[in-house]
Symmetry: C2
Subunit: 153 residues, 2 copies
Amino acid sequence: MLQLTRDGEYAVRALVYLASQPDGKISLISEISETQEVPKSYLSKIMQHLVRSGLVKSRRGAKGGFVLARPAHQITLRQTIEAMEGPIHLNVCLIKKGECHRDDLCPVHPVWRDAQSKLIEVLDSKTMADLVRDAEKLQRTGNKTEARRVEVK
Amino acid sequence: MLQLTRDGEYAVRALVYLASQPDGKISLISEISETQEVPKSYLSKIMQHLVRSGLVKSRRGAKGGFVLARPAHQITLRQTIEAMEGPIHLNVCLIKKGECHRDDLCPVHPVWRDAQSKLIEVLDSKTMADLVRDAEKLQRTGNKTEARRVEVK
DNA sequence: AGCATTAAGACTAAATTCATCTTAATTGTC
DNA sequence: GACAATTAAGATGAATTTAGTCTTAATGCT
């Protein structure tokens, strides 16, 4: 299906949370789980994955926890999603040259390539730092929807 | 996963094939299956689905088969894909207002909305008639890539 | 009547999704 | 050094989706 998995969604939530914390602050699984509404033991596996893919650093033992592995403005939405789901390919024919041997004659292939690059462009253009800033803005305007915000004020 | 299912891919192949046939020509499952490289009995289920969603008309019995239900330029890629997979929602939070109660405070939501509308725009802009024309062009240039075709002509 | 063909849907195997649970390993603190 | 807190690792499992096959019924031509 053309839909993000829970893995991807939860990873984004976790990273946005980490990015919103003061510099150097270590966050716990339970803390992220509660604020971001992600099942705790599921989140644990996701964090593991994010550590292995180099977006997050963990420390074991008492006073352990998780921190971003690099500044929030150097982590994009795309990187986060691909850390969980692997490279984005909107259709199997885009996985690699030759994956689909109808490639050269298939008129649909270029359309998928176009769609995919537009999607990726959007996901590349948002960093965790951007998202934290956006979240703060949303909070200041007090839970109004975008549309209403425009009309009312 | 952010990936088209086989259902969607095969439906597109079938419709492109039907669109490429002379006006009024009735096509058989076996014919579509062989030229488009789709398992025959699987294709049968897909055609059923396309009939029910109104993109294709079928006739039973001897001399029966399938025809487009309307002109090829009135069937878009998006319609074809949504006929098989249902409405496109890149993330569950886009299914409907209120699906995700974090909506108003979630900074990621607008990004998904943006990405989705760009994807849909691409899929809306290609009709089966366009694709048949593109396929003919590809065949004339003898398996060259798009990029090269642009240079040459 | 008989044959060709689609319609409908039951059935299945494999993969993916979305988790939970248990146990081991690690580390700071007392 | 013992202990408590915490993450790491991975086994396990239920539900759903995916991808496909197969069978039987219905239909329409000849």
